[in-house]
């Protein structure tokens, strides 16, 4: 007997003796059932799970729409607003414009682009903000206000990117065909007012509510740069910024201010230049002489 316990003779005898087969009707029934199952099997699977990918796609779409709906508009808006909001410079421009028009100077302020005007109301006017916060605010050092402004600038732009004022200047240059840099300020982001002393010019013929001039007329001169800063603080999502950026922004504004004074002088508007110079000295106090170039340092208002 082998390992499998088989006997060839018995196997043969059993094969001859055991030959029963299932009834043909049973065969037919089983084959038919198998065929039905084979035919319906794959279709059944498809019909059972066809909605899986559809449901997945719908879920993804729902999430996308939901996220888009829930995303606060400030995430996108601040950049646009900061680029186009009425900076103190714009208000100053409004206030200075009559004088410029009266003098028929070549530095006539170009009208801001429509986009800037459209977005302007979203940013609280510095004068208004100053009114709200002015009671509680103390005259802040100009540099401190600029530091905050620098922080705001740094928050809204990449470090290596062009400064907002530069961008605004570029835009204004495109729109205004080479307007003086001092008058391109309307497109500047909210920052400390580099020309607080322009307010008196606004008092002469402009709407009091528009400019910082109305506030500056009653506020101490040193508080003038703080007013836009206060408005910014009310609006702003303050973010830490590097001191280097702040310093750069401050220096740039000093330079712009000095350039503005020189432009006025060159244009023969000695009175305006003197007012600007006085405002500069008021804003920077004891530092003013150190910041002013020699030719302007000597000229006293």
């Amino acid at each position: 007997m082998n390992e499998n316990e088989r006997d060839p003779r018995l196997d043969a005898a059993w094969s001859a003796a055991s030959r029963e087969q299932p009834p043909p009707a049973l065969d037919a029934a089983i084959r038919a059932a198998a065929r039905r199952a084979a035919d319906s099997g794959p279709r059944g699977k498809r019909s059972k799970h066809w909605w899986y990918p559809v449901a997945a796609a719908a879920t993804v779409a729902l999430f996308a729409v939901g996220i888009a709906q829930l995303t606060p508009p400030e995430r996108v808006a601040p950049a646009a607003v900061s680029d186009t909001a009425p900076a103190p410079g714009e208000l100053r421009q409004d206030s200075v414009a009559p004088a410029a028009e009266a003098a028929s100077a070549p530095s006539a302020a170009p009208s801001p682009p429509p986009m800037q005007r459209r977005y302007a109301p979203e940013e609280p006017a510095p004068a208004t903000a100053a009114k709200v916060t002015g009671e509680h605010s103390r005259p802040a050092p100009a540099m401190a206000g600029k530091k905050t402004a620098g922080a705001s600038d740094a928050k809204r732009r990449p470090p290596e990117g062009p400064a907002p004022q530069d961008r605004a200047a570029a835009e204004a240059a495109g729109a205004g065909q080479g307007a003086p840099s001092a008058l391109r300020a309307p497109a500047a982001p909210p920052s400390s007012n580099p020309f607080p002393a322009a307010a008196p010019a606004a008092q002469s013929g402009r709407d009091e509510n528009l400019g910082t001039g109305s506030l500056n007329a009653t506020a101490p001169p040193a508080a003038a740069p703080a007013a836009p800063m206060a408005s910014r603080a009310a609006v702003a999502r303050a973010a830490p910024a590097s001191d280097a950026l702040t310093q750069t922004a401050a220096e740039r504004r000093v330079e712009e201010w000095i350039k503005r004074i020189r432009d006025l002088k060159n244009a023969g508007r000695q009175d305006d230049a003197a007012k600007e110079l006085a405002a500069f000295r008021s804003a920077y106090g004891a530092q003013a002489d150190a910041l002013l170039p020699a030719d302007l340092r000597s000229s006293k208002p």
């Binding site: 196997d11 005898a13 003796a17 029963e20 087969q21 299932p22 084959r31 198998a34 065929r35």
Partner: protein
Amino acid sequence: MPAPAAASDEDLMLAYVAGDAAAFDVLYDRHRGGIYRYLLRQARHAGIADELFQDVWMNLIRARASYAPTAKFTTWLYRLAHNRLIDHYRASGHLKLVSANDEAHADAVARLPSPREDEPHARAERRELGERLRAAVAALPPAQREAFLLQQEGGLSLAEIAELTGAGAETVKSRLRYALAKLRETLGDLDGQWREGLG
């Protein structure tokens, strides 16, 4: 596309799972007789065997999606038949498959009609051989009968029978040895006829 007749059982089953009805036909033709006879010998009633046979194949059709060719298809198929038989025994109260007592059934084998007692002429004896063999198998203890039928009808090896029935390989070997010994004893006097007509 018709399923190739030379394909293995496993390939045919996989093809059927994939929706090839022709593969099932080939598979069915290969195993319908063995399964039917296995059930018929165990149930000992044609009507019951028909019912069980249909159930086994329907179970196969239903369970096709879960089929994995990790073992021989034949083992899987006969396991389905074995389980269906167990269910049948339970339902009918005749579950005696595991009580394999070889000695207790020795008398039954001894009571099988002896060819010498009959002394029919040669044709009658040859015709009668099959009946006597079937009767001898039917008289085997259930466990031995099952092992014998799985070996003969299903072509399963000792290890496969052991796996299917849940018994040890040595136990299965012993069962088969006992079963063959009894069948030889029963049919020993027909040794010449084996060579003549059946061998």
